[in-house]
């Protein structure tokens, strides 16, 4: 399964016993994540599935340093993030990047694409404009777009093209891990297949690790080596994608699979219709995507 030799300790990016609790004034505290551990190794794709409110967005925010966990740590190459110095954090930001779900809101409408794609360099103030444009041209070619697109604005592109630009931006600093938050769900079927192919190609060429967050079990099965199932803030099942899909152990995984198999509507072992909704157990006070 893990050709690249991913042993448990070889994770590049790893959440260790991460707990996140949101305290709301005048309301009960919300336990968005209860002791979650999950890692991504070099060159592997890990799927993270769960429904809205399961905590996947929260976990993503922890991994990407958008927020800090209440307890627990996020490690990069073994070093806990909260112990990192300035130089290490720089490394961290170069090596961990992301692609978000909605390509219409993930690109600043007032910036040209070369500027968007090389924003990380602008933040570090370590490249001249000509170098950034050069890099941007390389990146557009890498994701299969014409190089002259670098002078365009986001609104001149279709949804699929924008998502390619978002991926190019994630690739800009040769990262070792990219967190992909439902990167295909805003796209049409025919376009999302293109993006799936692009992701496979990039992994092959650069050995980058992916954490693919999503609810499309088919896509997860197609792209991932391993999968983790998040339910009510807990990882209830984790393992090689084949094993989990073939013989799910947790009830929720079974339900999720049955729901996405779509072989027949006569699945009576699904829970009764009355409680077909996942209850609102977890919710984040932060706006999610």
């Amino acid at each position: 399964m893990l050709e690249s030799g991913g042993v448990m300790t070889d994770y590049i990016l790893e959440a260790c016993n991460v707990v996140k609790t949101y305290e709301a004034r005048g309301a009960a505290a919300v336990h968005a994540l209860k002791d979650v551990s999950l890692g991504v190794a070099q060159g592997e794709t890990v799927g993270l599935v769960g429904e809205s409110g399961s905590g996947k967005t929260t976990l993503m925010r922890m991994l990407l340093a958008i927020e800090e966990p209440t307890t627990g740590v996020v490690r990069f190459r073994g070093t806990p993030r909260n112990e990192m110095g300035k130089a290490e954090m720089k490394e961290y930001f170069n090596n961990v990047s992301a692609v978000f779900q909605n390509p219409f809101s993930s690109l600043n409408p007032r910036r040209r694409l070369w500027d968007v794609m090389t924003e990380r360099r602008a933040i570090e103030r370590r490249a001249k404009k000509s170098e950034r444009r050069e890099r941007a041209a390389e990146l557009t070619a890498m994701v299969g777009l014409p190089e002259d697109y670098i002078d365009r604005y986001p609104h001149q592109l279709s949804g699929g093209q924008r998502q390619r630009i978002a991926i190019a931006r994630a690739l800009a600093e040769d990262p070792s891990v990219i967190v992909l938050d439902e990167p295909m769900s805003a796209l049409d079927v025919s376009v999302s297949a293109q993006i799936a192919n692009l992701l496979l190609e990039l992994q092959e060429n650069f050995g980058v690790g992916f954490l693919l967050i999503g609810h499309d079990m088919d896509m997860i099965r197609h792209l991932c080596h391993r999968v983790a199932v998040l339910y009510k803030g807990d990882i209830v099942e984790q393992g090689p994608v084949d094993a989990v899909m073939r013989a799910p152990e947790h009830d929720y995984t079974k339900r999720l699979l049955a729901a996405s198999e779509l072989t027949s509507l006569e699945i009576d072992d699904l829970e009764p219709v009355e409680s077909a909704d996942a209850p609102f157990l977890i919710s984040q006070p932060v706006p999610t995507h």
Binding site: D188, L200, D218, M219, A259, L262, I267, L270, A276, D277
Partner: protein, 317 residues
């Protein structure tokens, strides 16, 4: 029964005309479900809104064709007659119940608006029974609740209740599960399937996911760029697609057979309604395309399997 023949629907925008539906024909018999499959911009929602005659000047127009709901051509209806058709014949299920239900009205009053006169006398009882049959427990206690007090799946059940309270003969569902969580989706799909059978509904099911369509529907109509590229019994169409687009759509969406292998993706993007290519709308992305394809559309071809397609160079199966 829903019968659409040669429908042409246009949108107008800043002096430009978008031909959102061009010669679309769909037949939905009583008790059957037909899937209308397509990507964004394919014209599938346009067809649904044309049936309900939601598109009218100055936004757009049903320029040509017959849209018959139980024998009534909605194109020829007066506004008053159209409301009668909507009230008595058509149940509509929206894509996202959260934005479709009125946040300021109780569930009771939103359902009550559509109840036929004879049901209005004991409205509470009728509504409670309806909601419970749709899987809402303790419905009697929840009549006075507002939409924001329900979860996503429950809201969709309320929306379905609104569609069904009219006792319609035709049900139009516009991507009724895309806004819901995966495990919630199945419940709604199952409910729709049951209702079609129990109530003998002619169901038009609009979706972008042909595999979901297969569970629910007997027939499929595949749209691309405003035209019907292929139609027929869903099993036949999926087993032996004739149109390269249908083929490509199936290739792109059938996953899991060959994990981590390249999918046969369709290059390019779906066309914009305002910049439709000449000839076949799929021709710029089609591997089979010839000069003929860029020039004009062929007429529909019927196959032995009972499917129909609109293509100069169909895929050999």
């Amino acid at each position: 029964m829903l019968d659409v023949k040669n429908l042409h629907t246009e949108y107008y925008q800043g002096g430009r005309v978008a031909h959102a539906a061009r010669g679309v024909s769909i037949h939905v018999p009583q008790g059957q479900a037909v899937a209308l499959v397509g990507e964004s911009g394919s014209g599938k929602s346009t067809v649904a809104q044309s049936v309900m005659r939601m598109i009218r000047p100055p936004v757009g127009n049903l320029r040509e064709g017959i849209v018959s709901v139980n024998g009534i051509d909605v194109r020829l209806c007066t506004d008053r007659q159209m409301r009668q058709v909507l009230r008595n014949e058509i149940g509509f299920i929206p894509q996202d119940p959260t934005t479709a239900l009125d946040p300021l009205y109780t569930i009771r009053s939103q359902i009550k608006e559509v109840l036929p006169e004879e049901d209005k006398r004991n409205a509470d009882q009728v509504i409670t029974e309806l909601l419970e049959s749709l899987g809402i427990v303790n419905a009697a206690d929840r009549l006075g609740d507002y939409p924001h007090e329900f979860s996503g799946g429950m809201k969709q059940r309320v929306a379905i209740a609104i569609a069904l309270a009219k006792r319609p003969s035709v049900l139009i569902a516009d991507e009724p599960t895309t806004a819901l969580d995966v495990t919630t989706q199945v419940g709604i799909l199952r409910l729709l399937d049951r209702l079609r059978r129990e109530r003998n509904l002619a169901t038009l099911f609009i979706t972008h996911n042909i595999r979901v369509a297969r569970l629910l529907c007997q027939h499929v109509v595949v749209m691309y760029g405003g035209i019907v590229v292929e139609s027929g019994p869903i099993e036949q169409v999926m087993a032996a697609p004739s149109h390269p687009y249908t083929r490509a759509l199936l290739d792109a969406s059938v996953l899991g057979d060959r994990p981590r292998q390249k999918l046969r993706a369709i290059p390019g993007n779906p066309p914009s309604l305002f910049a439709m290519p000449q000839g076949c709308p799929f021709s710029p992305r089609c591997a089979n395309a010839t000069d003929q394809c860029h020039e004009g559309l062929p007429s529909e071809v019927a196959t032995e399997q009972g499917t129909r397609y609109t293509c100069w160079n169909p895929v050999a199966s």
